[in-house]
Amino acid sequence: MFNQFKAIVEEGDTVILYLSPFQVFALPVKDTIKNKHGVMVENIFQTSYGALKVKDLVGVKYGSKAKLSKGWGFVLYPTPELWTQTLPHRTQIIYTPDISVIIMQLELKPGDVVIESGTGSGSLSHSLARTVQQSGHVYTFDFHEDRARIATEEFQTHGLTQVTCQHRDVVQDGFGEELNNKVDAVFLDLPHPWLAVESAVKSLKSRGGRFCSFSPCIEQVQRTCESLRKLGFVDINTVECLQKEFSVGYRNLPLAEFGESYNHQNDNSNTRHKFVSVTPATPTMQGHTGYITSATLPPVHVRVTS
């Protein structure tokens, strides 16, 4: 599903129902789903434009309109970005602007093997899986057993066979013997990332690789950088990335009145000035998400540790 484009909705797909920028939903295309009490019920999705029997989407073309009882919405092909926008939160998640920078900093390409810890809600995992494709592999670890289990199920439903999710505390137990010298890149989103840097070195290939860590606090970054320097990483670099979205539209302002009366009482265009405005899309914006620290581990024969 998430691995290859297709043109027509089939049973078992996850589709995106797009109503407006702030009304976007991921829906599983099947007859019945579990409701919040765990009982199987008919899969009918309620929107502000009326109800949708999700199963009826089978055979509909991606990118076309779906009829709702009081309107319509677009049925879109699920991308990792739309998934990030709609997924059920089990933790704080990493959003698309940061994900993009992380993927570029990890220097991933199809066929690569990458480690992610923790899995969290699987937001980044979907993007990692897309980038390494089915010829590569994502090993993702979470120390929370339930989270790891639910994420595993989700990856299966989405057909992401290149993702392996495991319940594991990587700070205590590392990434496992079987991954020693096997991976091209390591990503950490942990409370104590500096404690897992040594394990990252073990897992990275002998010809070296990339490392990236996402942390909200500067103290975490400082400790991680310290640890990276000690273990021979180079190109150590910390950035933060914020994305500003604009809303564009016509607006108009009244013209100032100076008491002089003209005969334009009924003519709106003379009393108001119309213009195209570009304003922030939301009144408040994310001022901080996290620091992205990345580094290169050189090949083993030129590594200098201190």
């Binding site: 043109a7 991606y62 570029m104 970054v221 400082q222 500003k244």
Partner: protein
């Protein structure tokens, strides 16, 4: 990457040359394959010794006697002895005293006793960087009064200038952007690393996907980026305004031949010819009621599109009797070049049927002037074609990409993007993205309003700007970098719908 897999530096590779924290990408051996001179500021380093050495090797540069009188200093590179450590300064610092603040330091320009000529002499005589820096410190009246941090900063600055160790490492997309944007962001039209990363993400690159880019003025950065994330079955079609594509970025990533085969470039002129012939083809096919048999097994999607477009065309110019002749012109034309190359065939019987069908169509409306103009346009087209030959293999490749419809359209150019978007949006499959970059906000705002007002089939239209802040992270000295790029440009993204 082909060459870095065996990890040896080979002639023809693009290599990152790193001197302390300065980096540059070099085409190793040059165009002729025998030019190993690398220019680093005022120094020219001869690197022929690096051929066949592993990537990540460090070289020491040794001064060479100047052959000609020139301002540049000549050096040759020698592979560093494995027990020689290319770091300098750490040892020097350990033995140094340092001050606690700068209260005793006066900026009177007299702190360095050595004159520029003295330093120049030292360099000419082949003194090592370590020794030069040692001399500089010895002859500095203020160095010992500087704080520990200030001393480190001073050394780092000197190192950049005198460091005589050079590292050769493989190129990567990340390094390419970093190197370029440090030097001259305008070479990539101001696209910052983060903005580029947002573009790739929005493009949702999938295995086997076909991506259309219109690039002008960014050295093929977008094509290079897509190729980097694409498997070996997908394709990048780069449309370029001039006769030749700008593709230095594509080359500098050392892609395998397999990957490079998936990079297709075509001039806008040839592209428009193909678009026109495809449109006519669709039109004629509908007229002949022939089901098109296309190479890759026509999907329902394509068929519907054909019908839709023909309706538009017929709406504009309803067939009349005089038109019969005109319509056969493009048909012959198509039969001879475009249809054959896409693997379709129009039989003679079908052609006759076409004539019959056309004759039977009722006359409803005629605008002779308009039709005649159309007719002469067509002839001009075929004339143009006869004097300007497009590579047939390339042509059929492009035609098959366009008929299947592309999985993403990215526009990064010096031109106003509106006309480009309108030209190519019909070749984008539904539920796929269009991404337009501009260094300026205004053209994208105009385009945003245009998308709202005209009924172009898109949804999820977003205008964004990215902000990237880099940090210095050092013990007790963590803060954002003092200078940063003020903008990384603007992005307009949208999803194409039916």
């Amino acid at each position: 990457m082909t060459t870095s897999q065996d990890n040896l530096i080979q002639v023809g590779d693009y290599v990152v040359v790193q001197r302390w924290n300065f980096m540059k990408i070099v085409h190793f051996g040059g165009i002729k394959g025998n030019d190993f001179d690398v220019v680093l500021g005022n120094d020219i380093v001869q690197f022929s010794t690096a051929v066949g050495k592993p990537y990540w090797s460090t070289f020491k540069i040794i001064p060479e006697p100047a052959v000609k009188k020139s301002k540049k200093r000549l050096y040759k590179a020698e592979l560093l002895d494995s027990n020689e450590n290319p770091t300098l300064s750490a040892e020097i610092l350990k033995e140094m005293e340092c001050g606690s603040d700068n209260r005793d330091i006066k900026d009177d320009g007299k702190s360095q006793i050595l004159s520029t000529a003295n330093i120049h002499e030292l360099r000419e005589s082949g003194t090592s960087a370590n020794e030069i820096v040692g001399h500089l410190i010895e002859n500095s009246t203020t160095f010992q009064k500087k704080t520990e941090f200030a001393q480190e900063k001073y050394l780092s600055k000197k190192k950049r200038k005198y460091f005589d160790y050079i590292l050769l490492r493989p190129t990567s997309l990340r390094l390419m952007i970093e190197i370029n944007n440090k030097k001259d962001p305008s070479k990539f039209l101001g696209i910052s690393m983060d903005t580029l990363s947002h573009m790739v993400t929005a493009c949702n690159i999938q295995p086997g996907g076909n991506y259309l880019t219109y690039e002008n003025g960014c050295s093929g950065l977008v094509s290079a980026t897509i190729l980097n994330y694409l498997d070996t079955t997908g394709k990048v079609l780069q449309v370029h305004p001039g006769p030749f594509p700008q593709k230095s970025s594509v080359l500098s990533l050392n892609f395998s031949t397999e990957k490079l085969n998936n990079y297709v470039s075509m001039s806008i002129r040839d592209m428009i010819d193909i678009c026109k012939s495809l449109e006519k083809q669709n039109q004629s096919i509908e007229l002949t009621k022939v089901e098109p048999v296309l190479e890759n097994g026509t999907e329902t999607l394509v068929k519907e599109e054909i019908k839709m477009e023909t309706v538009d065309e017929n709406g504009a110019e309803t067939p009349v009797k005089e038109e019969v002749k005109m319509e056969t012109v493009p048909l012959n034309n198509i039969n001879s070049d475009s249809l054959n190359s896409t693997g379709s065939s129009v039989l003679a019987a079908d052609l006759e049927q076409c004539d019959l069908d056309a004759k039977q169509t009722p006359t409803e409306n005629s605008n002779k002037g308009n039709l005649k103009r159309k007719n002469s346009d067509t002839q001009m087209d075929s004339n143009k074609k006869s004097c300007h030959k497009i590579d047939l293999v390339l042509k059929s490749q492009v035609e098959s990409i366009l008929t299947k419809k592309v999985d993403g359209l990215i526009i990064v150019c010096k031109e106003h993007p509106e006309s480009v978007l309108k030209k190519f949006i019909k070749y984008v499959a539904p539920s796929r993205p269009v991404i337009i970059y501009s260094l300026y906000r205004e053209p994208l705002v105009e385009l945003f309003m245009e998308l709202k007002n005209t009924k172009l089939p898109v949804t999820n239209v977003r205008l964004t700007e990215s902000f990237l802040r880099a940090y210095q992270v050092l013990p007790d000295r963590t803060h954002p970098l003092m200078s940063m790029n003020s903008t990384g440009g603007y992005l307009l993204t949208a999803t194409v719908v039916e």
